[in-house]
């Protein structure tokens, strides 16, 4: 059993909203009393010394726990590094299928949310602090009333749920209250896709992509690699396919530049309306039955032929992935194309979502209407959740008397047109459970602080159905409760908390009588982070009848003259608002705009020109009927489709922590619903507002200015060698290395610009957050900077991770007057923080500008920050320079381990934080003195080059040139 003792920090945390001062006084009184008593007597109770140190708990030795984090309800396996019982770092779990060893920025940043001192700490009754028992009393009274009417007035609203235990509990609640219903609200998800899948399969189904089997991927505004439950897996799989022979191709139709477009072999900027037409054209040209033949008014663009030809040439090995911005029609068309090309079951596995078992006395379950329309052979095997729309309708009708909301925030993140807050105000009894006392918590009668995923027991399934356990790595820091406890209350089953509940579920499922066998299997599941031997869901297939099903085929009205098409997208940092109070994610530069701490309405250069707008101009956006309106600053994104305005969600929070509140604009206000689905794309009007807003941006120049920091080789060209000539002479004698000589390569062909490495570096190296004002002054601290370059206006884009290059002839070392930056015996360019006086000459002399300076005291001195800081890395004082160290603490750790065993460090034993988390393995680190190491082999590639080689700095980090597949793109494509 791995129950981890809560660290000392937990006890010094002030409890309650007003506990700080009183508690301080109490502690002072207590310590005064202690001082008075002196060291006269041991306490009366029997105490035991800590004689037998538990294995793996040696101070300074990190312990890793395998657990699962949730992305929109779906599990992503992670390993949590704990130091003396304190979780400090999150890495991917190599055996978990949604991680494969990598973790995205959001998963890694969960550590900051866990320790966030602004998380909710106390049960609230309205605006008054209350207690758990008061809530229990109030709730049980209410439930007794509900029980009288079979629960007709009871509604349960949650995010997407994959936890088998929680689903079983929902089933129990629905069994107790047959008249109640369960609704799911997923602001980050795609309602259109869910609607179509439900119509096709008769139950909630998600397509699971197997991009490793694909040779052609057509992304139609799909954010395949973005922050989602399958983003990391998709990125991994696609890169695996791309490294294969023949090389897989990415064809991307995008309304705004996304991560797919960055690595696309063919990229076309299209508005969602044009994309639907393009999808129709592709379908009709491929001979998909029931395809709508579009009126071919204009000349067929050459790229369309190319796309069709490539899809046709790889039947059963291609993927057409529709994105959030598309209508249900287009999603249906994508299914049809995929079915026609034989991709289903090959590269796309339709995977049924697990559902609660149907209660026997189903009066009006939300799944009932879907039954019967389902695909052949698959009946409804559970209660399909209702939608938010249905819930709001019921709330308006006065049919809802009790509303329980689990970890959702619909007052903020539901479409403005739904007016959820208005409907909520009619509910006599509402309970909200969440990590923060957010907008919904403020509008509810009761608020329960929720335990973080790292604090409570649970379980989850990944998108492909793999089950895993969620084990706490620390006791709840702020007294949060688990959703399992709340569900137990609702179901009126008394158990001993989430732990027992989850165990009981699995004991029951595994049908294990023998306690010993169960413990063994349970321990194995905890240790590996994956539950083995879980049968996958039934294989789903589609037949022609199902495919012929129609969705409400209202064509989106094309935007009229003077209107723009708004596309609501998940923010690449804080997604749909869930991570809004996470400073790491807020400060993470968004891949294409490099905006931090804010969102902006993104426009193409052409559209901005047409409206005479510059970056930072504020515009007024209003719905076509002028019912909703908001002010937003604009930002121009080369490579975006004309006539489209991109509105990132998740900002403009009204009640969240200090890091989230008041940042950016709330785009949900403009969102609308249609046929019960939140629309991700709708027409709206734009008016300049004669104001300016300063955005904090980390990169200002994205052109190449005639330079070659990124190199490109052609796949077809035989002469693809970009390696430079021999080293130039230097005044200083060459250095000799008798042991290791560390080095790194970054494969630009594999980098998708996902920012995972930047957060990994931030977490590993205690990199402080500086805030929007400092970012605006040009004082970023990210050691790992992801540079973005455009070739020409809207041409090919390339990401380039740029950290300290560890030059052999380091220009920084020569100019430091105190020798605070030096070469070490293994080739590292090291920064000696306690010797640095802060002349900043080294930064001036660094041609890569990868050094970062503590202009102020940026380090976070909150006790919570000290608790999750990496103890192996110094927290820097103000006035000193810092930069990438090649994770020197990890090198030291490996060296110590190797010395203990009397051997040298093996290749692959030192893995830098960025390398460890890269979903596409674009980063390779190792010993260049060993000719057989991975990094040496990587550096032997003809694509290997160093940036600014002409300066003779001889960097140890080299890059592998991007490969361009010229056959994939016809001449007129701008990809």
């Amino acid at each position: 059993m791995r129950r981890v003792v809560a660290p000392a920090i937990n006890t010094t945390m002030p409890a309650g909203v007003d506990g700080g001062r009183r508690r301080m006084l109490k502690l002072m009184a207590a310590s005064a009393a202690l001082a008075g008593s002196g060291c006269s007597q041991p306490p009366a109770e029997k105490i035991r010394p800590y004689v037998n140190m538990p294995e793996g708990m040696a101070p300074g030795d990190p312990v890793f726990y395998a657990t699962t984090l949730l992305h929109e309800g779906h599990g992503v396996g992670v390993l949590v590094e704990t130091e003396s019982g304190r979780p400090v770092k999150i890495e991917g779990n190599p055996i978990h299928p949604a991680s494969l060893g990598a973790a995205d920025a959001q998963s890694q940043a969960a550590i900051l949310t866990l320790w966030d001192p602004e998380r909710s700490r106390i049960v609230m009754h309205g605006a008054q602090p209350s207690t758990w028992s008061a809530l229990l009393d109030s709730l049980s009274t209410q439930l007794r009333e509900e029980a009288g009417t079979q629960g007709k007035g009871l509604r349960l609203l949650s995010g997407p749920v994959s936890s088998p235990t929680l689903l079983a509990q929902i089933g129990e609640v629905l069994a107790r209250f047959p008249g109640a219903s369960w609704h799911v609200h997923d602001p980050a998800g795609c309602d259109a896709a869910a609607q179509v899948a439900r119509r096709l399969f008769g139950r909630p189904v998600r397509p699971v992509y197997r991009l490793d089997r694909a040779r052609t991927v057509l992304s139609v505004d799909a954010d395949l690699f973005g922050p989602s439950a399958d983003g990391v897996r998709n990125a991994h799989d696609f890169m695996q396919a791309r490294r294969g022979e023949p090389r897989a191709r990415m064809l991307a139709l995008e309304s705004t530049p996304g991560l797919c477009g960055a690595i696309a072999d063919l990229r076309v900027a299209l508005s969602p309306a044009d994309m639907e037409a393009a999808l129709d054209a592709v379908a009709s040209r491929l001979g998909v039955p029931a395809a709508v033949s579009p009126q071919e008014t204009e000349a067929r663009p050459a790229w369309l032929d190319s796309v069709c030809a490539q899809l046709r040439s790889t039947p059963g090995a291609c993927v057409v992935a529709p994105g959030h911005s598309l209508s249900p029609r287009a999603h249906l068309m994508a299914w049809r194309i995929n079915a026609h090309l034989g991709n289903l079951g090959q590269t796309i596995i339709p995977t049924a979502q697990q559902l609660p078992t149907e209660p026997r006395l189903a009066l009006q379950s939300a799944g009932a209407e879907a039954a019967g329309t389902g695909a052949a052979g698959i009946g409804t095997s559970g209660v399909s959740p209702g939608t938010l729309n249905e819930l709001v309708d019921a709330m308006r009708d006065g049919a809802v008397r009790t509303l329980i909301m689990l970890d959702v925030n619909p007052v903020y993140d539901s479409p403005g047109a739904l007016d959820f807050a208005g409907a909520l105000s009619k509910i006599p009894f509402s309970v909200h459970m969440g990590l923060y006392r957010d907008e919904t918590a403020h509008a509810c009668d009761w608020h329960i602080p929720m335990a973080h995923e790292l604090e409570a027991w649970s379980d989850a399934r990944s998108i492909d159905g793999t089950a895993s356990l969620i084990q706490p790595v620390i006791a709840p820091l702020y007294g949060g409760r688990s959703p399992h406890e709340v569900m137990d209350m609702l179901a009126d089953t008394r158990t001993a908390g989430a732990h027992e509940r989850v165990r009981a579920f699995w004991r029951n499922l595994w049908d294990m009588e023998d306690a010993h066998d169960f413990e063994q299997r349970w321990d194995e599941a905890l240790r590996r982070g994956v539950i083995d031997g879980e049968p996958a869901g039934p294989a789903l297939n589609l037949d022609a009848r199902a495919l012929a099903a129609q969705v409400p085929e209202e064509i989106e009205p094309a935007p009229e003259e003077g209107e723009l098409l708004a596309v609501f997208v998940n923010d690449s940092g804080i997604v749909a608002g869930r991570h809004a109070n996470n400073a790491w994610l807020q400060e993470l530069p968004r891949p294409y705009t490099k905006i931090t701490w804010d969102n902006a309405a993104l426009l193409s250069p052409g559209t901005a020109r047409r409206h005479a707008l510059r970056n930072g101009d504020v515009v007024s956006l209003s719905s076509t009927d002028a019912s909703a309106k908001l002010l937003a600053p604009i930002w121009i994104v080369p490579g975006q489709a004309d006539g489209v305005v991109i509105l990132p969600l998740g900002f403009g929070r009204r009640h969240a922590g200090a890091k989230a509140q008041g940042r950016g604009f709330d785009a949900y206000v403009l969102q609308d619903t249609r046929n019960g689905a939140a629309r991700r794309c709708l027409p709206l009007c734009l008016q300049p507002a004669d104001q300016r807003h300063a955005l904090a941006v980390t990169q200002h120049e994205m052109g190449l200015a005639g330079r070659e920091p990124v190199r490109i080789v052609s796949l077809q060209s035989s002469n693809a060698d970009v390696r430079g000539s021999a080293a130039q002479p230097s005044l200083y004698p060459p250095r000799e290395y008798d042991s290791h000589a560390w080095g790194m390569t970054v494969d630009l062909d594999a980098c998708i610009g996902c920012n995972a490495c930047a957060i990994a570096c931030q977490a590993e190296n205690n990199i402080p957050v500086v805030g929007p004002e400092e970012i605006a002054r040009g004082r970023t601290m990210h050691w790992m900077r992801i540079d973005l370059y455009h070739e020409g206006d809207g041409g090919r884009t390339q990401f380039q991770p740029m950290a300290c290059q560890h030059c052999e002839n380091a220009p920084c070392e020569v100019v430091c007057p105190v020798g605070a930056t030096m070469h070490d015996s293994e080739g590292l360019n090291v920064q000696v923080y306690n010797r640095c006086v802060g002349t900043r000459f080294c930064s001036n002399n660094c041609p890569y500008k990868v050094r970062h300076f503590n202009f102020f005291d940026y380090a976070d001195h909150d006790p919570s920050a000290a608790a999750h800081a990496n103890p192996d890395v110094t927290v820097r004082q103000r006035g000193v320079m810092e930069k990438c160290t090649y994770c020197v603490q990890r090198i030291s750790h490996a060296r110590i381990e190797a010395q203990k065993q009397g051997r040298t460090i093996r290749d692959g034993e030192v893995v830098t934080a960025c390398e460890a988390t890269c979903p596409t393995q674009a980063i390779v680190f190792g010993d260049t003195a060993d000719p057989h190491s991975r990094v040496s082999r990587s550096k032997a590639s003809p694509r290997n080059y160093t940036v600014l080689a002409e300066l003779n700095t001889r960097p140890r980090t080299s890059y592998l040139a991007r490969i361009v597949d010229r056959e994939a793109a016809p001449e007129d494509g701008d990809g």
Binding site: Y789, G819, T839, M881, L951
Partner: protein, 466 residues
Amino acid sequence: MAEREAKAVSPGTPELGPGWTAGGVTDKISAIVLGRGGPWTRGWHEHWRWRSALLISFCGVLTLLAASTWLFMRGVGLFGVNIPVAWGFALGNFVWWIGIGHAGTFISAILLLLRQRWRTSINRYAEAMTLFAAGIAGLFPIFHLGRPWFAYWLLPYPNRMELWPQWRSPLVWDIFAISTYLLVSLLFWYVGLIPDLASLRDKAASRGKRLAYGIFALGWRGDARHWHHYESAYLLLAGLATPLVVSVHTVVALDFSIGNTPGYHSTIFPPYFVAGALFSGFAMVITLAIPLRHYFRLQDFITLRHLDLAARVMLACSLFVAYGYACELFTAYYSGDTYEIHMTRDRFTGVYAPVYWAYMCCNVAVPQLLWWRRVRRSVPTLLIVSLLVNAGMWMERFVIVVQSLHQDYLPSAWDIFIPSVWDWIFLLSSIALFVWLFLMFVRYLPMISMAEMRGLVQETAEEGKP
């Protein structure tokens, strides 16, 4: 002997007005300090101009103290510096002030060795100017440091960890260059003051003043032996100071040209910086001379001839500096180096282009007026020209320090520097500190060397004799 001295009356030369005797010169100059006779009959405190100048500059000094306290408490983030522009106003001000501190030593040492008579009446205050400017310049690197409390780590001092400065860094050379320069300038200035301090001691009415001047006069009695030693020491110091005129700014220039940044990395920098330093130094000499001779009625001592000659030096420096500018341009394009060419184009048309063209105007175009004798002898015009040159040289330093950094090698790292309010506070209050120090100097020390003036009277009287 006494008879001959009494007869020594200046006949009136371009450097000295007519009718001055040795005693008259001494009385005139010492009266300014001792507050008797001349313009100060009613005492210093009666003069509103003096009082307000002192009050304003002293407020500036207090501002500087408060600002530096806050700076040391909060950190250098107060300035507008960032990455890539990690050096901002502080370094620009440093180079500017140290440049101003050049003319003094040049006038005292080199002109002394060259036996230029026109140095006599301006060397004292020019040396004071040098000392104050170099002292203020020395403050800025400390303001600039991230951890100023460890500034002494740049000095080679024995310590238990056997840590020494990193000798390849030009910043370490800088420490030596500037401290040597400050020390030698101070010595030179003080040694020159000794006979005058003795005169003041002898003339002072109150006991306190006699004591104070007496202590610093080191027992000077005007003995022939004293004079003998004094003159050889003064000459030796002049010899010692002469190479420093070149060395200090050469080393300051190396701070930049050792760096690999386009716009820094240039071999023309050392001579070009020295010329620029003399340029701004002479501009400051003229800027100070004009109000001094006006308010203290020193037109007979600091004559139009002095101004004319200083203006000629300024013109020569301007031409040299213009050559430096041209050379930089030529090298940038001749090298064919992408980065150098980009940097140069950015100077012409980038965000800092207005500053670039402004200093081109102030440093190259405006000084060409000095070809005309009428301009050189027109006091108001000369004052305007010298002020413009001072401003122009400051802008030049700013552009070199900031503009070169803001767009260097990788376009992804480009950014701009916008000075914060603190940048301006430090610049303006350092000027206030300079003014305050100078006012104190004028108030308590003879701004013209009495001893040397007496010598000049003697010399001109002898020359004037048929």
